[in-house]
Structure formats: structure tokens, C-alpha cells
């Protein structure tokens, strides 16, 4: 249908107005898009297609978590209680704050406030870095307690919790080895999430540099907007990781 209509309108503009057709280069309106709105929507659409592949990527890990949590629930509950809720909760708040400043950065870019945009991007980076730092503290604690899956994994705290002052039901040695599955998924999921954040922090460095140059405060918002989509997506992954990994069963003894 549309093709027919197009055929009745030969593209005469290019020929007739060749001499008055100046090439004004606007990054927010490249010449193969009819309007700025069309270009913007095409960009947003492409970014979302990428994020859909990310949903599938993380989705596979969430699914394996779902299956193993149901199969080895006791081991998962006990292992989950080894994680620190204060640290995990703080990290959730830190990440939400980081996302908040990223949202403000989009607004600053749209309102063409260069100084405020750079400040917002720097604050996004700051809170993102704090998140990675807290994650590092948590990883280090697991390293010291031999709770990293592998040859040196130690199930002592799960087989004999009372000796370590932990108020949990002891697991049989066979069941206790299943806590390795929990920690494998914990390190896999939080690790891939952290890698996404580090990639994001790398891109942020580049965005801060360009924002400081004034690239995004003259009407061209797309890079800030699309990066914000990525950053918020990574936030959403954590919003699910936190309750699923840290808060499985926080009232032991039932």
C-alpha cells in the first residue's frame, strides 16, 4: 500500500533544489531520517532491541536459579543467610541513587544545562563506583570464609552451624555441598551484573568527556538517553537479584 503511494511521488526535490539543498549536519537529524522524532524513535527502538537480548541473557541465569532453588531449597536458604543484608540493602539504595542521577542527567541534557549534566554524570559514576566497592568488600569476605566454589570450598559452617554461633538447622554433608550451587549462582549473577556496571562506568567516562565538550547540550540527547536506558536496565537486574539472593529465608527456625 505504502509503496504504491510512494511511486506516485517521484523524489523531485533532490533534483529541483540541488543548489539550495545545503547539508546542515545535525547529529540529532541525519539526512536519511524524515524527522527528528523519527530518528529518535529509531534509536530508542534499536536500544530496546539490545536490551531485550539482555533480558534473555540474564533470564537464563534467573531460570537456573529458579530450578536449583526449588531442588535444593534448604541449602539455598542457609547459604543465602551468609550474605550481609545491611551491605546488600545499602548497595540497592546506592544503585537507585546512581540511577536517579542518571535520570537527572537526561533532563539536564534535554534542558541544555551543560554544567549540571556533567555533575549528574559524575555523581552517577561516583555511586556506581561505590556499589562496585561494596561488592568487592562482600566478595572478599566470601574469599576469607572459603565460600567461593571450587577445591577450597568449606562446608563446615553449614554442617555444624552451632559451632560457629549460627542459628540454623545443620545440613547433612551431602546437602551442604549444594550450598556451592548457591554461591556459584551468586558469583555468576552478581559478577555478570558487576561487569555490566564496569562497562557502564567506562562508557560514562567517555560521556563525561563529550558532555564537557558540549556535545549533548545543543539538542542532541540520544547518547545520554540511550545510555540511561542501559544503566536503568542494569539497575532493574539488581532490583531482582537483591531479594532473590539475599532474602530467601531471613527467619531461620521457621
Amino acid at each position: 500500500m505504502d509503496n504504491v503511494i510512494q511511486a506516485t511521488h517521484p523524489p523531485t526535490h533532490a533534483i529541483d533544489h540541488a543548489e539550495e539543498h545545503e547539508h546542515v549536519f545535525l547529529p540529532q537529524h541525519l539526512h536519511h531520517f524524515a524527522t527528528e522524532e523519527q530518528q529518535r524513535e529509531a534509536g530508542t527502538f534499536g536500544m530496546w532491541l539490545f536490551l531485550l537480548t539482555e533480558i534473555m541473557f540474564f533470564g537464563g541465569m534467573f531460570f537456573s536459579y529458579l530450578v536449583y532453588r526449588n531442588w535444593y531449597y534448604d541449602a539455598f536458604a542457609v547459604a543465602s543467610n551468609q550474605l550481609s543484608v545491611p551491605l546488600g540493602g545499602t548497595n540497592t539504595a546506592v544503585l537507585i541513587t546512581s540511577g536517579f542521577f542518571m535520570a537527572l542527567a537526561v533532563w539536564a541534557s534535554e534542558m541544555r544545562k551543560k554544567g549540571f549534566l556533567v555533575i549528574c554524570l559524575l555523581l552517577t559514576m561516583l555511586f556506581g563506583t561505590v556499589f562496585i566497592g561494596i561488592k568487592g568488600v562482600e566478595y572478599h569476605e566470601k574469599w576469607e570464609k572459603h565460600h567461593i566454589p571450587g577445591a577450597h570450598f568449606d562446608t563446615a559452617e553449614f554442617v555444624n552451624p552451632h559451632a560457629y554461633g549460627i542459628n540454623e538447622e545443620p545440613l547433612s554433608p551431602a546437602a551442604a555441598t549444594k550450598t556451592q550451587l548457591f554461591f556459584s549462582l551468586y558469583f555468576l549473577m552478581t559478577g555478570i551484573h558487576a561487569i555490566h556496571m564496569m562497562i557502564g562506568l567506562g562508557i560514562l567516562v567517555w560521556l563525561v568527556f563529550r558532555a564537557h565538550r558540549g556535545d549533548f547540550t545543543a539538542g542532541y540527547v540520544a547518547p545520554i538517553e540511550n545510555f540511561a536506558l542501559y544503566w536503568h536496565f542494569v539497575d532493574i537486574v539488581w532490583l531482582f537479584l537483591f531479594p532473590l539472593l539475599y532474602l530467601i529465608n531471613r527467619h531461620p527456625g521457621r
Binding site: I5, H29, I96
Partner: protein, 111 residues
């Protein structure tokens, strides 16, 4: 540029206007997210039996939807974008359901 833009030549002429979300909205969303983070921690320490994971997932999903709608501007996008986002989560649910039905119908003793 408008004379080049033949409206009849566009399948979907509805490209959303560039809607600027205000900091007021962002602050409101930010506080909501923090409150619900607190809620999810409190809920985890209360024994709700089988409903603990249900509540945890419900709160996480609510937060995710708030982030999607406001921080990620989905509320203000065209139908194409809204449908794209919805189709992604829908496909994830379909894949999860299919895989789960496979697992549930195999390892009888473990469920």
C-alpha cells in the same frame, strides 16, 4: 523539511513527541524506590510461609515497572516502543514457562 515528510508515506505517523520528564517526577520515583527497598527487607524478616518469595517478587516487579515507566520513559513513548518492551518480558515468561514445564515433568522426586 516538512514538505519532504509525506504523511501518507509513513506506516506509523505516530512518532512520540519528545516528552521531557521533570526532576519532580524523578524525585518522587526515587523516594518510592527507596521506600519499597525498605519494605522488601522488612517483609523478608516476617514469616509469611509460602508467600515470602511471592511478596519479594511482587515488590521487585513493582519497582522494576516504576523504573521502566518513569526512569526509562516507556510511559511517554510511542506504541511501537511500548509493544517492543512488553514483547521482551512476555517472551521471557513464555520461555520460563516452557522450560519449567519440562523440568517439572522430568525430575519427579525433586519437586
Amino acid at each position: 523539511m516538512t514538505e519532504l515528510h509525506d504523511a501518507t508515506n509513513v506506516t506509523n505517523p505516530e512518532h512520540a513527541e519528545h516528552h521531557i520528564v521533570t526532576p519532580r517526577t524523578y524525585i518522587f520515583v526515587f523516594i518510592t524506590l527507596l521506600i519499597f527497598t525498605g519494605l522488601t527487607v522488612v517483609a523478608a524478616y516476617i514469616d509469611l510461609g509460602i508467600f515470602n518469595p511471592v511478596v519479594a517478587l511482587a515488590i521487585a516487579s513493582f519497582k522494576a515497572v516504576v523504573v521502566l515507566l518513569f526512569f526509562m520513559h516507556v510511559k511517554y513513548q510511542s506504541r511501537l516502543i511500548k509493544l517492543t518492551v512488553a514483547s521482551g518480558f512476555f517472551t521471557f515468561l513464555v520461555l520460563t514457562t516452557l522450560s519449567l514445564s519440562d523440568y517439572i515433568s522430568r525430575a519427579w522426586g525433586l519437586w
